[in-house]
Amino acid sequence: MSALSAASAIATRELARFVTQRERFLAALVRPLVWLFIFAAGFRAALGLSIIAPYKTYISYETYILPGLCAMILLFSGMQSSLSLVHDRENGAMRLMLTAPLPRWFMLGAKLLAGALVGLVQVAAFLVIAALFGLRVPATGYATALPALLLSALMLGALGLLLSARIKQLENFAGVMNFVIFPMFFCSSALYPIWKMQESSPLLAKLCEINPFTHAVELVRFAFYGQLNLEALGWTALATVVFFVAALRGYEPARTRSS
């Protein structure tokens, strides 16, 4: 019970912080909408898509990139959470949390879950706007995609947590983000199918295949159509565990040493 109230307090604080940062919410919405309505409009002519699973017919380019843009929101949200973790460490709020009488893994897990919920709120808002403009998935797809989106949010949040454990100063954060967000996003199946990448560069296609972000995108893509992509699920879950365990190690207390 006490653990639950602690987790709920962490989630409430995270949501309250998000709600008070309107610019953050707007930026989180505008970014994928720009991709969806501007980038896609220009890019669709250049990219011919064949019929690929889980789609049963030819689809518009906007339909193809919808799952990738949902994952992009979660990627930015995960990194934003990690930025707030670095901020929390600088202003001491992290110490307050880590000196509470609960296991460290639990506190960091609660923080991770809270960040994931914030990401899901942003995805939901994006999907509503996309639906208003006629870009929809099957009605049940929204429900079946929810666990896939949650797992993806946890995986990307865990990556953010890992980065926050390694990045010691807020000033260094922007640089590191460029090395994480852009390669992860562009070297994935978010904007183009991997077989397209294969035509240009087998090496890049290989990198796309091992990128956990690709698996998160595919997990969400299949889930939108009520299908379970087991391979994507396995890799996304594995990446979540690996990132979280590595992050926990990063947040382990230092040991005293005798000389």
Partner: protein, 241 residues
């Protein structure tokens, strides 16, 4: 366990890389005492506070809070501790109540119990009228008092304060020092880290730390032998240098 001291530190050492921070530090603080951890900047006070709050793991030394070993039973030890860190740890854009509720929840207090404790702690610190104000609107002294109130919410046996008066003006410093001495008289054990000798009182216990080594430990009135505390501290520092 009921006879155990509020705080026991034994054989604690720590290096920051090649730089030694603590050297075989040992002392105990009996229940209900006000103990000052006195030392100049760089003496190792904040490192010691990090060990006492579980942020640095005590190995090979021993830290026990009310009989709970910090290495073996971290959660039980932490449950007995209230902490005021040197650097303020506040959500400036949230109200006093929201800040306190957050902390209370981290310590497992339900909303009803938390609200009762918040009212009680704020009244104790003379802050009850500020409960709905945003932290950003409070001055430094009131923010510090809020942090002390927060550290008391879960009714810890041991209150750790790391340089709590740094950055405060003289009246605020004096008021907070008086408040915490009053808390000790009411039965809470206090460990007060400071580099300001004038914050000590004759009846306090003091642990004098210099370059990570305990130079002296005991009751202030015994150690100073009739001199003003600041004179005794200055002489001790000159001798150590």
């Amino acid at each position: 366990m009921s006879d155990a001291p509020a705080l026991l530190v034994r054989g604690l050492s720590h290096d920051w890389g090649r730089k030694p921070a603590l050297r075989d530090v040992s002392f105990t603080v009996a229940r209900g005492r006000f103990c000052a951890l006195l030392g100049p900047n760089g003496a190792g006070k904040s490192t010691l506070m990090s060990v006492l709050t579980g942020l640095i793991r005590p190995a090979p030394g021993v830290v026990a809070v009310a009989g709970h070993d910090m290495a073996r039973n971290r959660r039980a030890a932490l449950a007995e501790i209230g902490v005021v860190f040197q650097q303020p740890t506040l959500d400036l854009d949230r109200s006093v109540r929201a800040n306190l509720r957050y902390f209370a929840a981290l310590h497992g207090l339900g909303r009803k119990r938390a609200d009762a404790r918040i009212a009680e702690a704020l009244e104790l610190l003379g802050m009850d009228e500020r409960v709905d104000e945003k932290l950003r609107a409070l001055n430094g002294g009131h923010r510090r008092r809020m942090e002390i109130a927060r550290a008391l919410l879960h009714r810890p046996r041991l209150l750790l304060l790391d340089e709590p008066t740094v950055g405060l003006d003289a009246p605020a410093r004096s008021a907070i020092t008086a408040h915490v001495h009053q808390l000790a008289r009411e039965g809470i054990t206090v460990l007060w880290a400071t580099h300001l000798a004038d914050e000590l009182r004759a009846e306090d216990q003091v642990v004098l730390l210099h370059k990570g080594v305990v130079m002296a430990s005991g009751e202030v009135r015994t150690l100073v032998e009739g001199r003003p505390v600041t004179d005794w501290f200055n002489v001790a520092m000159e001798q150590a240098a």
